[in-house]
């Protein structure tokens, strides 16, 4: 042992050291440049949205419904929340159940098939999902443009995120805790519901919030399924078009009216704020959960 601890001789700094320093400098320089490019684009987007959105922000936006290309955004805000929450409600039971199954019950081929399908679903363009729901539900089922059709579209888009994040979160529950529960006489289901799920809850919630953020930000699938409405939602699941914020951004920014542009920027600001807040909450949840274990 002692022989191995003989002092290590350091060669004099020479050309190798110079090259190392140069590589170091270049590496850091390129990273910094990349960061600057990305960061400035993000900051630019945020600044534009905040400046133009803030100046358009009135209390009226939150109290009035849209009138043509003017008025408020109450109907759109309500519609966005209703659609996104509806989508989560539909996607959560199958998504969570699949996540539990993948994480705890199946170790065979079926699991890898399901995982593959979930990954494919993530890759399907959302407009394709929208078109599918349009053909199947809006037309074939006769639902018409509606909250139900829009929620189904958002549910399909959110499903793989909920499924995979639930699986990951449950997988991260230490094996030793599950073993401890088994050793105390707990059944598989008992361990899932009393150990895995409670401990994985922050991670699962993160997946739900992610799906929520995606739902709030979606446009294309809703154009095919929810259409648009100037009025508040009356609670009908089918045959009642419903408004949402991203429509305002998409449709109003191309209108030749100042009032329409103001609404579009205000809607963009609201969507951005919503997504940012969801992002911050899920970050906090993740940090807290990683501290707990």
């Amino acid at each position: 042992m002692a022989a191995a601890l003989a002092p290590i001789s350091f060669p004099h700094p020479g050309r190798r050291a110079l090259r190392r320093r140069l590589a170091d400098f270049l590496g850091w320089g390129l990273c910094g440049l990349a960061f600057l490019l990305l960061g400035s684009a993000t900051v630019w987007i945020l600044v534009v949205i905040f400046l133009r959105g803030m100046s358009a922000l009135h209390l009226n936006l939150l109290t009035q419904v849209t009138q043509g290309t003017a008025g408020g955004l109450l109907n759109a805000i309500e519609g966005t929340l209703v659609l996104a929450l509806g989508g989560i409600l539909l996607a959560l039971p199958p998504g969570l159940a699949t996540g539990i199954y993948l994480a705890e019950y199946d170790r065979g081929r079926l699991a890898s098939i399901i995982r593959f399908l979930a990954d494919v679903l993530v890759g399907v363009p959302s407009i394709v999902v929208g078109y599918f729901v349009y053909v199947a539900m809006v037309i074939a089922f006769g639902w018409g443009f509606s909250m139900a059709a829009g929620s189904v579209a958002l549910a399909i888009i959110g499903l793989p995120y909920i499924c995979r994040t639930s699986e990951m979160a449950i997988r991260q529950v230490p094996r030793s805790l599950r073993d401890a529960a088994f050793a105390l006489g707990a059944s598989d289901a008992r361990v899932t519901f009393t150990i895995s799920l409670p401990i994985a809850l922050p991670g699962i919630t993160t997946g739900i919030l992610l799906a929520l953020a995606i739902g709030v930000g979606e446009t294309a699938p809703l154009i095919y399924t929810a259409d648009w409405s100037n009025y508040l939602w009356t609670g009908h699941l089918t045959k009642e078009p419903i408004g949402y914020l991203t429509y305002v951004i998409y449709a109003f920014i191309t209108q030749p009216f100042e009032s329409a542009h103001a609404l579009a920027y205000a809607a963009a600001l609201l969507v951005t704020l919503f997504v940012l807040i969801i992002g911050v909450i899920s970050r906090m949840l993740l940090v807290r959960s990683s501290r707990a274990l």
Binding site: S176, D179, A180, F182, A183, S187, A292
Partner: protein, 283 residues
Amino acid sequence: MPNATRNPPETGGGIDFGAALPGASGNETAAGRERIAVRNLNFYYGSHQVLFEVQETVHEHEILALIGPSGCGKSTFLRCLNRMNDTIPGSRLEGEVALDGRNIYGPGVDVIALRRRVGMIFQRSNPFPFTIAANVAYGLKVNGLARRRSEFEAVIERSLRAAGLWDEVKDRLDKPALSLSGGQQQRLCIARALAVEPEILLMDEPASALDPITTTRIEELAIELKARYSIVIVTHNLQQAARISDRTSFFLMGRVVETDATRKLFTNPSRQETEDYITGRFG
């Protein structure tokens, strides 16, 4: 490790029996009736066989220590005794493990009831990230052993007392279990296992991650618990086996080389491999 400080093999083991803890039974086979009888146990992970024709018995009120080098199958064997290996995909078992004469791998055996009777303490303390009280109460809830609040409280206090932890935690039962120190966490895990009143306790190197003082506490605890339970303990620490166990089994490459009264096995082993191991020739 230098080999020079070891006793030469002719003089028997290098284990100091002067350090035996008070209460240790003097390592004689003074045990009661037979509780567990293992016959011709073979165990496989996939096509890889880890246990070969293992024969073993566990008696009432005894501590049986399982020693042997890493990977010799002693932990796997321990986990066969409460069917914890069931949860490992691709594992397979042949032979018989009888608890009070009934094969626990036979048809119609309630694994859940079995695990309640045969409790387990793991190498690394693994309290649930719940409160101290909820940890102890978990097994009661799962098995429906208590209903009223007063019943829970009584069992929680009794179990924590039995694990020697009550005085340290009685004022903070609603605090997170993870706020306890490492040794306290391991004693909490023992309390949690005791709460469901098992008849046999399996301990998988319960003190290997703990400091010497806490290790002593766990060892004293094991000796106290022997009065009410049978204990099978896996340990890497030969001194520990010598200090607390009544009988010791030496595992080597998936086989039981010999099982004997601890004092006999450490001073006058019948087999050359055992002597080589306990005198530090390998392992």
